[in-house]
């Protein structure tokens, strides 16, 4: 850290074994930098290796395919990411998505125009999210795990009940368009992902609300003492997570031209995995939207590659699991290294 205000760090250095101390901190800083760039580096390496292994991998057709397949995970993972930033978890996103798709399909068959169908699906997602948030905060639940587990079950059951256990084919044409190629051979869903990412990015980076999310995730008790409306910040992230599930539902319904109670199976785990693999901290307060997106794409790339290489589907699960362990361990390592940096700075000062 050589740039500014060196007085703080240089005083007292002479008293310490200088050779060790002065080299150790840049070393640590480099390690920290590598760790925070880790997911991007790994993704680039992965792509490089895969383009060697499979000639088909790096074709435009396949890349566009990967993006289309990861669109749902990407959108929902961005919502999940906000929840995880506040030290929470949203297990209900998969069922929520299924319920939204069923409600959307039913409203379409009841004669609603496309715009209303979309509003119903997104609104349904947001409503389930609001229930999660309100019960978690005002029901004074110790952890969001429980309430989102409950809504996972309720939403799933409701979706099965409403759809009589079957997929409901037929969606408005403008929703189906999302599943087709739109411009430059890119699927329409990519533009939805980009739009959601842009809006959430602006909100999280430039609005007070975004700053509050990081504060609540960094230290909930301190956030309360600093006068941040913690309850409403928490409710808002669950609403947005549900909203993202609703948008994911629209994308998936477009790709399949149907609504189904079986949509979104294990999506909660995929999205949590994406956030963690992308490099956000499961402990809250750390990470940004890019992490969720990179994680989602990484999962998409791994699945796609293993398919291309004819590796069986059981093995894919193992690989994803191993990647999650690596990601979480590097988060732990990062925290440890930061602790070391702090200890050294304290050593230099006294």
């Amino acid at each position: 850290m050589p740039e500014t205000g060196n007085t703080g760090t240089t005083v007292g250095e002479a008293a310490l074994p200088a050779s060790r101390k002065s080299e150790a901190v840049p070393g640590l800083a480099l390690g920290l930098m590598l760790l925070s760039a880790g997911p991007v580096v790994i993704l680039v390496l992965l792509v490089a290796v895969l383009s060697f292994l499979s000639p088909y991998f790096l074709t435009g057709r396949n890349l566009s395919n990967i993006l289309a397949q990861t669109a749902v995970i990407s959108v929902v993972a961005m919502g999940q990411h906000l929840v995880i930033l506040t030290r929470g978890i949203d297990l209900s996103v998969g069922s929520n998505l299924a319920l939204a798709s069923v409600v959307g399909a039913l409203s379409f068959h009841a004669g609603a125009p496309a715009i209303v169908v979309i509003a119903v699906m997104v609104g349904c997602g947001a409503a389930v999210g609001a229930i999660n948030g309100l019960f978690y905060v005002f029901g004074r639940l110790p952890h969001p795990f429980i309430i989102t587990l409950a809504t996972l079950s309720i939403a799933k059951g409701l979706a099965l009940q409403l759809a009589d256990g079957r997929a409901i084919p037929g969606m408005p044409d403008s929703i189906d368009a999302l599943g087709r190629d739109a411009v430059w051979g890119l699927p329409g869903s990519i533009f939805v992902v980009a739009g959601v990412a842009a809006v959430l990015f602006v909100m999280a980076k430039t609005m007070v609300w975004g700053r509050w999310i990081y504060a609540v995730g960094g230290r909930p008790d301190a956030a309360l003492r600093m006068g941040i409306p913690v309850s409403w910040v928490l409710v808002s992230v669950y609403v947005i997570s549900g909203l993202c599930a609703g948008i994911g539902s629209v994308i998936l319904a477009g790709r399949t031209d149907a609504g189904s109670p079986l949509f979104g199976n294990l999506l909660e785990l995929d999205t949590i995995a994406a956030v963690i693999i992308g490099g956000a901290s499961f402990l809250g307060g750390r990470g940004h939207l890019g992490h969720a997106l990179i994680g989602a794409i990484m999962i998409g790339v791994i699945r796609n590659a293993l398919n291309l290489l004819n590796v069986n589907v059981f093995f894919q699960l193992i690989v994803i699991g191993v990647v999650i362990v690596i990601a979480v361990e590097s988060d732990v390592l990062r925290n440890y290294l930061e602790g070391r940096v702090r200890v050294m700075q304290a050593g230099r000062q006294s």
């Binding site: 205000g5 703080g8 609005m207 007070v208 509050w212 600093m226 940096v341 700075q345 006294s350």
Partner: protein, 261 residues
């Protein structure tokens, strides 16, 4: 910063206590944590709040800063009875607290910590959470504040997690100076610090007083009490047992008041 405006505010009522607590009583279950405690603090004054562990110092200050509510008794700000129901109430009323655990956000930068919960943002017609951060203004004010307080930090764009104990303590105290308008409460601000870092924090405490704040300083360090405090109030087992003007010569007297021997 609002220092100029605040000084005018301070000048209006120089001699009346800006904060007065009367008959403060607080129970936690069967434990009587505070028993009819009264305390007054004036502008530009540092009052040392002393007592052994469990004497009620932290409970009293937490009642003033809105973390706990009094069971009986009243808090007066500038002579007016004031209900403080939450930490946000207290901050709004002009009471800043530097907590023993610092209440810093490790994942945020020093500047973001200074303005947490009171971000500079606009436009004003939007609800508070939906306003846009005025990051450059906050950065500039952060730099000015740190220069003003002679606090040096290795860098301003690094998160607080990366900083040393003394730097973190300085950040927490400096944060209270940003918005302090009436009262600043410091709970053991030098407890975990080395000599040099303690010195820096003590200078900050003096700066808070010089800005015209009423300062309540909780500490176990008699040297610091003698050096800084205009008066020392001693609590023991939830009761107020005495008050002294601390000098080099009556340190022993203070200690016996604290331990009750």
């Amino acid at each position: 910063m609002s220092a100029a405006a605040a000084n005018v505010d301070h000048a209006v009522t120089a001699d009346n206590p800006v904060l007065a607590v009367r008959g403060a009583t607080k129970r936690f279950g069967s434990v009587l944590a505070l028993d009819d405690v009264s305390i007054e603090v004036r502008r530009g004054e540092i009052v040392g709040l002393l007592g052994d562990n469990g004497a009620g110092k932290s409970t009293l200050t937490k009642c003033i800063s809105g973390v706990h509510q009094l069971d009986a008794g009243a808090i007066f700000l500038d002579g007016a009875p004031t209900q403080i129901r939450s930490p946000a109430d207290a901050r709004f009323a002009g009471i800043e607290t530097v907590y023993q655990d610092l209440a810093l956000f490790d994942n945020l930068t020093p500047g973001q910590n200074f303005f947490a919960g009171r971000e500079l943002a606009g436009p004003q017609w939007l609800p508070r959470g939906l306003r846009f951060l005025q990051q450059r203004r906050m950065d500039a004010e952060t730099r000015a504040l740190l220069v003003n307080l002679k606090v040096t930090l290795p860098r301003l764009d690094a998160v607080v997690a990366m900083m040393s104990g003394g730097q973190r303590q300085a950040i927490a105290v400096a944060r209270s100076t940003v918005f302090a308008r009436k009262v600043v409460i410091l709970d053991e601000p030098t407890a975990a610090l080395g000599l040099r870092e303690s010195r820096q924090v003590l200078n900050l405490v003096a700066a808070l007083r010089d800005q015209g704040n009423a300062v309540i300083l909780i500490t176990h360090n008699m040297e610091h009490v003698v050096e800084l405090a205009d008066r020392a109030v001693v609590l023991r087992q939830g009761r107020r047992v005495g008050e002294l003007v601390p000098t080099k010569d009556n340190k022993q007297e203070l200690v016996s008041m604290i331990v009750g021997a």
